[in-house]
Structure formats: structure tokens, C-alpha cells
Subunit: 254 residues, 2 copies
């Protein structure tokens, strides 16, 4: 793929950014390195398009999409990567350093779509936001000063991802066609239904359980076609559970 087309496969997602200056700085770095797709999830100030300090980033800001949730922002992506300064909380997703994550991201851009998430300046990504991620990456910073400025973190990540394209590595095996976030979310929903019907989890399931199921599925790194197989199996199992329980308790058929 030509570089521009590859780079179009990466979407930068800014989640709950508080300061419009930082959105502008992120957009500028995106424009510098040639990644032009920006989505913002519930920014603190809606007037982010007026972000100053965004020299030359007008196009990125103009075309930026506003999303109501992380799920919406990553829906069409086959690889979702969160960024974290780490160390300050137990992480439930696999963590890679930027230098190790970049080749994976680069490879996925050959055939799929990648979302790269940055959390709010103050807290970073929440546990729940991270539960949408296949993996997390951290920029290797000094123990004594882990947390980077948002615009600088975006610049460093995009530099490193672009580097792998520029260096024209040996062609890698064609990446398998990975499931999109929407497909994984669908399987997650059907699996939860089945688990409720079986009594394995309560109905309604606590948010914590939902997140655990999502993370379990994301860790499995599935193909689209395998999600289809799972959906078929789970639906049959769920249907059977429902039917059996109705037969067992005929009064419920009203």
C-alpha cells in the first residue's frame, strides 16, 4: 500500500481531553507525520475546532469526528491500542513499550484499521476505557517523571509508527483479517446473554463483568470469520437454554 493509504488506516482518538490547546497540538503532530484521521470523545470544551496553537493543522481539526463514547470511536477498528504512563495502577491489558508496539500497529495498517487512544491529561485512560483495547503501549520515560504532555506523547507515538513505514521493512506475512471492535462487541453481548441464562453471571450483569468479558475476547485477537463461528455456537446454546427453561417452567410462557 502507498504510505498515504496506510496512514489513513490509523485513527487517533482523544478521550475526554480537557484543554483545546492539547487537541490543537495533537492535530499538528498528526499533520506533520501524515496521519489525518482524528476522533474526539466528549472533549471538555466542545469548541475544540478553534484550538489555537494548531499551526497547519486546520484540515485535521476540520475533519475531526466527535463521538459520544469510546465504543463508537473504535467501532470500525481491528486493533485498538491505548496509551498509558503505567506504573500507577494495575493494568489488565497486555502492555508493550512503544518500540515493540509500533511494528504490530504498522503491520495491522496493511489490512485492517487501528485506533490509538489517548486519555485525559489528568487521569489518562480509565479502566473502563482501557477495556476496549487489545493492548496498551507506554512511551519509555524516566521512573522519576513518567507522565508526558499530551501533544508530545502523540508526536512521539506517531513518529515511531511512521518510522516503521519509512524504513520499509521486509514484507511481512499478510495479517489475518481481524475482527472489528463492533464484531467483538457483538460477541461480547451474546456471550453475556448466554452466561446470564446459565446463571454464571447475574442479570443485569455488573459493569465490571462486562469489562472482564470484553477484555477476555480482545485478548484472543480473533478473526472476523471466527467471531461468526462463535456467534453461531453461542446463539444456539442461548436459544436452547431459553427453550429448556421455558419447558421446565411452563408458567413462564405467558
Amino acid at each position: 500500500l502507498p504510505t498515504a493509504e496506510q496512514f489513513d488506516r490509523l485513527t487517533v482518538v482523544l478521550v475526554s481531553t480537557r484543554n483545546p490547546l492539547n487537541i490543537g497540538a495533537a492535530a499538528r503532530a498528526m499533520s506533520n507525520f501524515g496521519f489525518l484521521r482524528l476522533r474526539v470523545v466528549t472533549p471538555y470544551e466542545v469548541a475544540f475546532r478553534e484550538a489555537r496553537s494548531a499551526v497547519g493543522a486546520a484540515e485535521v481539526l476540520k475533519n475531526a469526528e466527535e463521538c459520544a463514547s469510546v465504543a463508537e470511536a473504535v467501532a470500525d477498528c481491528t486493533l485498538v491500542v491505548g496509551t498509558t504512563a503505567a506504573g500507577h495502577r494495575d493494568l489488565l491489558e497486555p502492555l508493550q513499550e512503544l518500540g515493540q508496539a509500533a511494528p504490530l500497529i504498522h503491520r495491522e495498517m496493511q489490512s485492517g484499521r487501528v485506533a490509538l487512544l489517548f486519555g485525559s491529561e489528568k487521569r489518562g485512560l480509565t479502566k473502563r476505557e482501557m477495556s476496549h483495547c487489545h493492548m496498551l503501549l507506554r512511551i519509555p520515560t524516566r521512573e522519576e517523571h513518567l507522565s508526558m504532555n499530551l501533544g508530545q506523547a502523540v508526536a512521539v507515538c506517531l513518529y515511531e509508527i511512521a518510522r516503521h513505514t519509512r524504513e520499509r521493512e521486509v514484507p511481512m506475512e499478510r495479517a489475518k483479517e481481524r475482527a472489528t471492535a463492533v464484531e467483538v462487541e457483538r460477541m461480547s453481548g451474546v456471550l453475556l446473554q448466554t452466561l446470564k441464562a446459565s446463571g454464571y453471571v447475574n442479570d443485569p450483569a455488573p459493569a465490571e463483568i462486562e469489562e472482564r468479558v470484553r477484555r477476555l475476547l480482545l485478548r484472543m485477537d480473533m478473526r472476523s470469520s471466527d467471531v461468526e463461528i462463535w456467534l453461531g455456537m453461542l446463539r444456539q446454546v442461548g436459544w436452547k437454554l431459553l427453550k429448556s427453561s421455558k419447558k421446565a417452567d411452563p408458567s413462564s410462557q405467558n
Copy 2:
């Protein structure tokens, strides 16, 4: 040399910086990556030490040295490297991309001292300032948008220089603990039982189906601990299916 001592051999020199916020941002990136020596040449505002936005960079700013000229700022250095967005003027010094310059800088830090110069936000380094440089480096940015924000440029350069030191250290994350074949086989068996109980596959299942289920699970490349989770879920679902079908058809209880 230990990393900290090596990094002490690099001095960041900000020349004629106009905006104290940018000095603060540069100092923060320096602190993030562990390069603590900053010199400023005739900044536009002398009150640069009060630079806001310099979260955690107090130490760097406090120890920063003010110099009256580039010559003074680079006096003790054995390799002087200027940064440029290039393209807009004829360059007289040899130009390298950051990825090529970083190993040279890294090598010099083993024994000598390196100065890394950044020019003013508006004009970059002047011809005269460049004349103090052994070589120039540019961050590879897009033709249509070459010029980076100062703080972001500093962050990207220092990230790349630090990378060459880090890559000699052991990788930080060990591979995830992958499930053994025996564990996958166990899950495969329990999944098949569940599918039979649900009517999704015949009982006994044809060998072909067994193989398909095994391949499905192997493609998912699971951790040991995730297999345990799946086993728990599948056993509950299977138990419920069995119990329900017995209730629905009491005659089968003989």
C-alpha cells in the same frame, strides 16, 4: 557507561526561543526522557524559569544555564548538532534524518559531549547559528507540513536518542504465558460437550467437527489463565443445559 551518565553528556540548547511555554515544554520532555542539561541562548523573555506547563520540569529549569551566544553554549561539546525543518533554504552543513543521526549522537555520548540545538519558533536556526554545527538533523515530516512545534520536536528527538540506549537493555515484558496443547484440548472437549447438549452439533460429533473446534481455539492463541476462565463458563453453561433438559423431560431421569 550507565544510562544517566551517558545522558548527562547531551545538552539541549534552545536558541532565541520566543515563547516561555515552549521552554517549559522542552524542559518537560527532557525530564521525561532523562536528559537534564538545558542551556538557553538569549530567550525572548528572560523570565523563562517561570515557564508554566512545565509539569515536573522544575529541576531542569532551575539548573538551566543562560548563555549570551551559541558559541558559548556549545563551547564544551565535541559534537554539535542543529535541528531544521529543512527544504526552505540551502543548507551548508551535512543533513541527516533523525533516525540516522541518533546512532551517531549516541556513540559520541560514550566519550564526548553533544549539543543539540533548536532555533526560534518562527525562523528556526539562522545560517550563522548553523555554522556552529557539525551536522544538521531533520525529523522526517510530511512535505505539505514540515515544521513541527518546538516542544514536540524536542520530545521526538530525545525519544529517538534515548531509544538507542534502551535497546541494549533487556526487554521489559516477558511473553504472555500461552496455554499448553493439553489445556487447549481440555477446552475443546468441554466446548464440544456444550455444543452437543445445545444441539449445535450431533452426538457423537464427526471427527471433522472436532478438528474445526480445535483449530478455532488454536487460532485464538490463548493464555493459560484465559482457558481457565472459559472452562468455568462453559462448564456452568453445560451443567445448566443438562439440568434444564432433565427437568423438561423427566422420563430421561431413569
